[in-house]
Subunit: 189 residues, 2 copies
């Protein structure tokens, strides 16, 4: 998506060879029009997917997933939570997300009430790097007996291998901007 | 907002006299069409506010704030984060949010880059109860020298006093559903 690539070049900030900060327009301050158009682009890319629900994980993926759900005819949307809220008593699906930077595992949870075998899930997230968050969400989908019909990321860091991992599982992956390398502010698509 | 009140009566779950769960359509699974229409209702209510930016806090307020920002002509939006992300090095505004249920204080942060004296902020959140989250966001706005021109909540629990507190500070408050009392599943507007 040309508009997103241009925005990354203009306002993104590469740090070292791994980190890209997009705080100024995507995950702290948001350019709402851009995010709406990203949602429309996901709707175009996954028009034939048969998705009947959007799945994401809190927090910064939420507006992008919401924009995609709205652009796909107000599909229902479910977001995994990063810890068990005190009022969430019912049975839950639990997925594990491994952080390679921190070398820690954390849990994400979805109530069993909101995913089931009838669901054809389009997973949407802001970043696709090693694919850890994706694997946690896919694990949850499988526990629910739901089908993952697609995976959409706003920004893919191709060199971290996540998209390859997901495609090897037979999942259709589309990223709106695919980054080949980061050398501080030298960002290559 | 009639549609939201009817949905709360149909699908909300009151627990005791204080808790209302709206997990099935607002803060775990989302009815995306409803949330879009809530955004349009905020746009109508705050049409004369002069807001030039939406402020909220992660996580469940994000889709509602995004819907309001989109309905108000794609206003930019900033969300406070609940802890300091490892890549967030620049100076921050820090607000304190007191939890009356847990009797603990936690911090929310906004980078100084994204709020300033030129900002006229409309704060949007999912729940307005004691007003603690609101006070943390207003504190951050004041540190930035920004003006808070309005406060919009999806669901207000009137009996917990938050709206009254905010109005006493001269802030215009609108809630889409105002709950007078909860007695388990007996919910009164």
């Amino acid at each position: 998506m040309k508009e997103l690539e241009e925005r990354i070049l203009r306002d993104g900030k590469g740090i070292g060879t791994e980190i890209l900060k997009v705080d100024s327009f995507l995950n702290h301050q948001l350019d709402v029009g851009l995010v709406r158009r990203m949602g429309e682009e996901f709707a175009r890319l996954f028009a034939g997917s048969g998705a009947n629900k959007i799945l994401t994980v809190e927090a910064s993926g939420l507006p992008i997933a919401f924009a995609a759900a709205a652009a796909m005819g107000d599909l229902p949307m479910v977001f995994a939570k990063k810890k068990k809220p005190s009022t969430m008593q019912e049975k839950q699906y639990v997925g594990v997300v491994h952080s390679f930077t921190k070398n820690t595992d954390s849990s994400i949870v979805v109530s069993k009430k909101y995913l089931g075998p009838e669901d054809k899930l389009l997973i949407i997230d802001d970043f696709l790097a090693t694919g850890s968050a994706g694997m946690g969400l896919i694990d949850i989908a499988r526990q629910a007996g739901a089908e993952v019909v697609g995976y959409g990321a706003a920004i893919e860091k191709e060199f971290q291998g996540g998209a390859e991992k997901l495609r090897a599982m037979g999942i259709e992956v589309h990223s709106l901007a695919v980054i080949k390398s980061i050398r501080d502010d030298n960002i290559q698509f």
